[in-house]
Symmetry: C2
Subunit: 201 residues, 2 copies
């Protein structure tokens, strides 16, 4: 039996607690991808991960707790926004990452979106993850000299990608990431300072 | 027993066939809104509409047929794109309509989006409805003098609304419709002909 009864102060990074968590979160992802939200129960996660049911229950409590921790784990990863030298280039790179997250097979991002229509906990996890990314990405807008509305610029660039690939599930049209990144940058072009031409588009 | 065994040529507009269809489609909408996609069966629609099960089955066949006809009926309505005198004004008005469709309680548009994650037929119906709207709305872009990429301009304006209200289910922030309509119009401002200033923004 694997367990994690250490006090928080006693937890070594990469120790048993971290391994337990990793195995549980791997099982959550596998269940979501293989069978969808309905399969995501404490019992199923215990069976799939090989972690004792009592441990899973004590630490994650329910499906909502499992999803929330999945998103927390993703947020703990060292994601850094791109720095290509221009607002347009940065938005294109961010959009390429969103396209990749939504078109990879199987896609945990798509599974979480589908789950969000079944469960308020999944919807919260979805929002938390993407809002965290947008907050971190805001620097690509402010760094370019657009001092207000950074989230709006990023949402303008990304949301057509979500619309096509997650909501309408259209096949990804060629140039999807670039097109809407360029439009979002063009929409604020008159708010960019005229420092150097390569920063403007 | 209500039935509709007339030949197509014998169908009077507003006659029994039309009334049967209206009652069935009203039942489809009511079931989707009250109980969600899982409740949408031929039996449940027959019971709710008071139309004989055999009639519903013969004409609509299955849940996919019911959803497809719901969307066809919506497309038959005389929706006309706005004509406010400017591209920005037209996009704002379209966005206001999307906001209204997604925030009205109960929202058939939101119910269809939720259903689209359960059923390929619902996903097809969803795409068909909105693509039809975008095709009809393309005139607001071409009329302003932007000769290519009309759908992209409309998607750029609308998709942040779908993103916030349908995908992330954030509370509608103030100015949502206006903000992204203005950004989409600004993104193509340099492609507008310099006819009259009021047409440009």
């Amino acid at each position: 039996m694997d367990d994690d009864t250490q006090l928080p102060g006693a937890v070594r990074p990469g120790g048993r607690t971290a391994r337990t968590r990793q195995r549980v979160l791997d099982a959550v992802a596998a269940l979501l991808l293989d069978e969808g939200y309905d399969a995501l129960t404490i019992d199923a996660v215990a069976a799939r991960s090989g972690i004792h049911r009592a441990t899973v229950y004590r630490r994650w409590r329910d499906t909502g707790g499992l999803l929330a921790d999945t998103v927390d784990a993703a947020r703990e990863q060292d994601w850094e926004p791109p720095d290509t030298g221009s607002l347009t280039g940065d938005l294109i790179e961010i959009n390429h990452q969103v396209v990749a997250a939504l078109t990879i097979h199987p896609s945990i991002a798509q599974a979480l979106i589908a789950a969000s229509f079944r469960s308020p906990a999944a919807a919260r996890a979805l929002r938390t993850f993407w809002e965290d990314r947008y907050e971190r990405a805001a620097v690509v807008v402010t760094r370019a000299g657009v001092t207000t509305g950074a989230r709006e610029v990023i949402v303008a660039a990304c949301s057509p990608v979500f619309y096509e690939l997650a909501l309408m599930r259209n096949p990804a049209p060629g140039g999807l990431a670039e097109r809407y990144a360029r439009m979002a940058a063009a929409a604020v072009a008159d708010r960019l300072p005229a420092v150097s031409p390569d920063k403007r588009r």
